[in-house]
Symmetry: C2
Subunit: 298 residues, 2 copies
C-alpha cells in the first residue's frame, strides 16, 4: 500500500514541529522559549498524525499536509497552556512536567498561547503560498475546517461550557455531550476532515463516514481521559488522579458511574471502527490510531 | 475622486463589525457576549478605516476589503482584552468602561480574546472563499501581512518586550523603539499594507512609501498614547492618567522628558505626511486619518 506507519508519521511530526517556530528576536526570546517548552512537553501528536494518515489514505502528499498537521498541534498546544492557567483549571502539572505558567509566569504563558494560535495561521497561510501540487482552494478549505473547529463553534465553545458547568449533579448528559463534542472532539474530527480535504476528497458518503469516525474518535478520547482520571495510574499519567472529582467536573464517570462510562467508551470505539469499514485496507493506519488510543493508559 | 470620507468608512465598519461574530450557541453565550462587549467599547476603528482607505486609494473594492478590515479590529480587540488582564497590565478601566475581565471574569476574558483572534482568521479564510473579483492569491497575501504583524515578529513580540522591560532608567531608547515598532506600529503598518495589497498594489517605490507612512503613523500613535498618559485629561481619556509612571513603564516622556517627546512626535508625524506626497490628491483620506490622529486628545 505504501502507507507510512503511525510511528513513522509521529517521527516526521517530531522532526518538523519546531521548524515552524518563528525566528528568535532578542527581545521576545522568552515567548519563543515558552512556546517550544509546551510543544515538546511529551504530547502523543494524535491530531497531526491523524491529519497526515487521513491525507495519505486519501492519496494526498505528506509534504503538502505537514504544515497543516503542525499548525493543528500548535493550536492544540495553545489550548492546553490557556486551560492550565490559574483563572481556568489552575493546574500545576501536565504530563508530569510543570505547566507553562509555572515555569515562565502567567503573562508569558498567556502570550505564548496567543503566539502559538497566531503562528498556526501564519504556518497555514505560508503553506497556501508554497508548493503548488495542491491548489490554494483545497488549502483554504482545510484551514477553514481547522479554524472553525478551534473557534466558538468548536473548542472555545466547549471550554467555556466546561468552565461554566456546575457540579455533575446539577447538569445532565446533554451538557456533557456538548462539552465533549466541542472541547475535544471538534479538533480531532477536524484533523481527519482537513487531512482528507488535502488529499483526493472521498465521495459524499465516504466523507460522511470519515466525519463519523473523527467525531466518535474524539468522543472516545475525552471519555478515556475522564476514566483515567478516576481509574488511571498516577505515575503513568504524570499527574494526580481524582482532580475532576475534586473540581466537581462534569464527566461520564461522575454522571453515570465508572462501569457505565466504560460501556459507553466501548460502544463509541466500536462505532468509530465501523465507520472505517468502507475504506478497507487503506484505512489500516487510521484503524491503528483508534486502537492505540482505545488501549492508552495515559 | 469618488473616495469615501473617514466618517463614511468608520460608519461602514461600525455597521459590519458585529455581523462577523459567530452565531450564538446556548452553552457558550457568555464568550460571545464578552467578544461583543469589547468590540463595541468605543474604539476609534483606526486600523480598519486605514485598511479600507488604503485599499480604496489603490483602486480596490471596499466590499472585498471589509472582512479583512473587521478581522484586523478583532485582532486589535483581542490584544486589548489580554493586555488588560491581571497577569499583564492589570487595568480596571479602558475607554471609561470596566475592562473585559472586570465584567465577565478572567476565564471568560481569556477565552473571549482567544475567540476574537481565532475568529479573525475564520473571517479572512471565509473571504478567500467568497467574492471572486479579487483573486485568492491577493487575499492570502493580505492575510499573511496581518498574521505576521500580529505574531512574534509584531504585536506579541512587542508586548512581551514591554512586560519584561525594566524601569525606564535601566533601559534605553533601543528597547523603547523595539516595543513601539512591534507592539503598536506593526498592526497599523499592516492595515496600510494589507489594504494596498487588496487593491492594485502600487509600484515598488509606492509600496515602500506606504510602508514608511504606516510605520511612522504607528509610532506616532504610540508616542501620542504615552504623552496623553502624562499630559492628557482624565475625563476625556476615560481612565486615570499617570499609570505608566506608576507602573514604571518605558515611555518617550519617561525616557526623554515631555518636551522632547513632543518634538519627536511632531517629526514622526511630518515624516508620515511626506511619505504620502507621491500619491497626491488620492491620498487625501489617509492624510486626514493622520491629521485626526495627530490632534487626538483621547
Amino acid at each position: 500500500m505504501g502507507l507510512h506507519s503511525i510511528n513513522e508519521l509521529r517521527e516526521m511530526v517530531e522532526e518538523e514541529l519546531l521548524s515552524y517556530l518563528p525566528e528568535e528576536e532578542t527581545l521576545s526570546k522568552s515567548v519563543r522559549d515558552a512556546m517550544a517548552y509546551s510543544l515538546t512537553a511529551g504530547g502523543k501528536r494524535l491530531r497531526p498524525v491523524l491529519l497526515l494518515a487521513s491525507c495519505e489514505m486519501c492519496g494526498g502528499l505528506l509534504n503538502e499536509a505537514m504544515p497543516f498537521a503542525c499548525a493543528l498541534e500548535y493550536i492544540h498546544t495553545y489550548s492546553l497552556i490557556h486551560d492550565d492557567l490559574p483563572a481556568m483549571d489552575d493546574d500545576d502539572l501536565r504530563r508530569g512536567k510543570p505547566t507553562n505558567h509555572k515555569v515562565f509566569g502567567e503573562a508569558c504563558a498567556i502570550l505564548a498561547g496567543d503566539a502559538l494560535l497566531n503562528r498556526a495561521y501564519e504556518i497555514m497561510l505560508g503553506a497556501m503560498k508554497g508548493f503548488k501540487s495542491v491548489p490554494a482552494k483545497k488549502k483554504i478549505a482545510a484551514a477553514s475546517i481547522i479554524a472553525e473547529a478551534a473557534g466558538n463553534r468548536g473548542m472555545i465553545g466547549g471550554q467555556i461550557a466546561d468552565i461554566e458547568s456546575e457540579s455533575a449533579e446539577e447538569q445532565g448528559l446533554e451538557t456533557l455531550q456538548f462539552i465533549h463534542s466541542h472541547k475535544t472532539a471538534a479538533l480531532i474530527r477536524a484533523a481527519v476532515m482537513a487531512g482528507a480535504k488535502l488529499g483526493n476528497t472521498p465521495s459524499k458518503s465516504g466523507t460522511k463516514q470519515l466525519e463519523v469516525f473523527g467525531e466518535q474518535l474524539g468522543l472516545a478520547f475525552q471519555i478515556c481521559d475522564d476514566i483515567l482520571d478516576v481509574a488511571g495510574d498516577e505515575k503513568t499519567l504524570g499527574k494526580p488522579i481524582g482532580s475532576d472529582e475534586k473540581n466537581q467536573k462534569l464527566t461520564y464517570p461522575a454522571l453515570l458511574g465508572l462501569e457505565e462510562a466504560r460501556a459507553i467508551y466501548g460502544e463509541i470505539h466500536q462505532k468509530a471502527m465501523e465507520a472505517l469499514a468502507p475504506f478497507g485496507e487503506k484505512a489500516q493506519v487510521l484503524r491503528g490510531i483508534a486502537e492505540e488510543m482505545y488501549n492508552r493508559v495515559k
